[in-house]
Symmetry: C2
């Protein structure tokens, strides 16, 4: 009888593990996610700035396993995990049993004890959030065009991104780029190029995971795009009218976006094991839960010394865990996880990036080409690769963005 | 001083009028819409059935007028029209004056005095509604896959489309097609091909605007796709569990979609002139409002004897009204509107259609090619034409649909 592997979450880690177990005769796999799609999160900022469509960076999970007869996919929200009984339950109470468990539930935003900021400063983790950010950006320009009072226009044309990691850098650069190259042609009463974009980082510099030289280059390139970078800027308050910065002037802004902290998905709290302060499970070197060798946590929901919360780490953990499960079934010893550093990259605006891998450091146009190549390569689905290349070619040639839609479920124009 | 033309609504009629007045020195144009995008409504059913992305059938209105220095675009919801003062107001109270007015606000669904049905049977007029219908269709299959009780699976796998006009025919055919060719490969516990699709029409036959022979062919082709067509089926009740049909058995179904009645947008009620029973303004032969020669109503918001509520009529009215306004400015006489019949077409599933123009009647594959050609031709925006052709080629070759996403603002898996 094949052993049953339950995988919770179809992000980079869970999807990779399921694929590595596909068509293996000694296992059957149940892959559960609360979404019907796998999302290529590194390109979410492109959806948020109207450069790509939601469907360009997402694939239906079950379409990935059409031909995999030993994999079952379920749309379900797991809310309970019982390690001793080897049983999980979803929100409807339906049980999922396992011989081996892989928890790959990923991360969500952390507002550092200020959940009330989320309403005014949405994060960028889901397609819905990306579409909401797109809506807010495009609507701000429309509202500014309708506003006759210059004093009221200023906050409408001010955008604040909180958090100077890769997501914050990419989002801020892309907003500045859209305002200056795409929107600038279409308005009559306002000058979209006059939009102010602030990037706030609490630490001493942008992109702490990158070498100092590259981070400085990124800050310089952002400045050329018109982004005002403020380091050492600790956010003390966010409401619908602006951002309070500790020891500095308040920034009046209607649009604030959050790219600062992350924490593990809340599901980790239901496992009943020790977590770090970001809610991540402290796993053994083989990614198993201490005391429960048949239950694993991988990706952003796990913490191991020296392993960063990046897509390549999640993918590697997924591959290794699939191998280790088969090793255990066959009575072979497991291999501990070792992070292979594939490098690090981030775009700044449309044609610039920074990238490092091993001793190689790249910046500017060449780094952007490397970024392009890697992101197309890792994007799942042939259709998506073609669609993304076409959208980017289109945007490159004509400075237009195809996805400039203000939509939302039951969208109504706000009454002023 | 150029005369000021205020156009309310950027659908087929309003957009055409604004384009016809672009760069004319004797007028300046203000184009107002409560959406930032022009929507190609004839392809909405493709978004609803995951065949196209929202951005493929929509273009930002202001991007259409980037180079038109005499056209201003405003995102605003007009709620008040004063014909005597020649002034409109939007929901925020901002005034819009005019020398000439064109009301092109279009139509919305009519539930024949049962607004409570809308919650259970959304219509197909906006991108949000299309995405909501897509969400309901895809979610129904996911929920059926999770459902162990066959009696509870039946309503989850039952889809009812109310209304046998072109929209209802295209939506029903496309749902059957998706279930049988796209989804059929991806599920393990259910057979998506067993999904039941009902098309209910209160009248004696489908597609009353088409010749009887073509309508019969459409009904036959729908049957081959697996759609159960019921004519003379008057809907007496809709709730979350099914549809009550007068004098017939109740149809248990979780998913019901509305393609039955339309009425003019509610804005026509604010004009203060006589309306027909569908809320449309009874206009003069030149599309002007009786007693107000400088105010026009065009497209679905207007009614003229012998003119159908179709996109070609709205486009023709927009062109003519632009010409008549310039004629009045230059002291020339106006031309009355005369409908030029461009014909009528509807698709049935993926590779079949019916079409008639003049004495020519087409059906089957040839009609589908004609449909394809016309829809690509009239779709606004080069990018969209390319994107739509690629999506359709993709779907034709691989029986996959690129937009199979379950999303929605703040989307959460419903707790059962």
């Amino acid at each position: 009888v094949p052993k049953h592997v339950l995988i919770i979450g179809a992000g980079f880690g869970g999807l990779t593990a399921a694929k590595a177990l596909t068509d293996k005769q000694d296992v059957r796999v149940t892959l559960v996610d609360r979404r019907n799609h796998h999302l290529f999160q590194p390109l979410l900022y492109q959806v948020a700035t109207a450069g790509l469509n939601p469907a360009d960076i997402a694939v239906p999970i079950r379409a990935q396993f059409s031909a995999a007869s030993n994999v079952q996919v379920h749309l379900a929200d797991v809310v309970e995990i019982d390690l001793n009984e080897k049983r999980a339950r979803d929100a409807s109470g339906a049980p999922f049993k396992w011989d081996y468990l892989i928890v790959a539930c990923g991360s969500q935003h952390s507002y550092f004890g200020h959940p009330e900021w989320e309403e005014f400063a949405p994060g960028l983790k889901t397609l819905e959030q990306a579409v909401e950010i797109r809506r807010r950006i495009l609507f701000a320009f429309e509202a500014a065009e309708n506003e006759l009072d210059p004093a009221k226009r200023l906050p409408l044309l001010s955008f604040v991104v909180v958090g100077g990691g890769p997501t914050g850098v990419e989002l801020a650069g892309s907003i500045a780029d859209v305002a200056r190259t795409v929107l600038v042609k279409d308005f009559r009463k306002i000058d979209p190029a006059s939009a102010r974009v602030f990037l706030l980082e609490a630490g001493p510099r942008l992109l702490p995971a990158f070498p100092e030289k590259l981070a400085a280059r990124a800050a310089h390139d952002l400045g050329e795009l018109g982004v005002t970078v403020r380091t050492g800027a600790m956010v003390a308050g966010i409401d619908g009218t602006g951002v309070e910065v500790k020891g500095a002037e308040r920034i009046p802004a209607h649009s604030v976006f959050w790219a600062a902290g992350v924490q593990a998905d809340a599901l980790t709290k239901r496992i009943g094991v020790p977590l770090d302060r970001n809610g991540r499970v402290k796993v053994e070197p083989d990614c198993s839960i201490p005391g429960h060798p048949d239950a694993f946590v991988i990706g952003d929901a796990a913490t191991l010394p020296g392993v960063p919360g990046l897509a390549p780490a999640a993918i590697q953990m997924g591959e290794l865990t699939a191998k280790n499960i088969r090793a255990s079934i066959e009575g072979r010893p497991r291999t501990p996880y070792k992070y292979r550093d594939k490098g690090n990259m981030a775009t700044i605006g449309k044609h610039r990036a920074i990238a490092e891998t091993g001793k190689l450091q790249l910046s500017g146009y060449l780094a952007w080409l490397a970024w392009l190549f890697v992101h197309i390569l890792y994007l799942i689905g042939f259709r998506n690769r073609i669609a993304v290349l076409l959208e980017w070619t289109w945007s490159y040639l004509f400075s237009k963005r195809g996805a400039r839609l203000i939509t939302g479920r039951d969208w109504k124009l706000p009454k002023e």
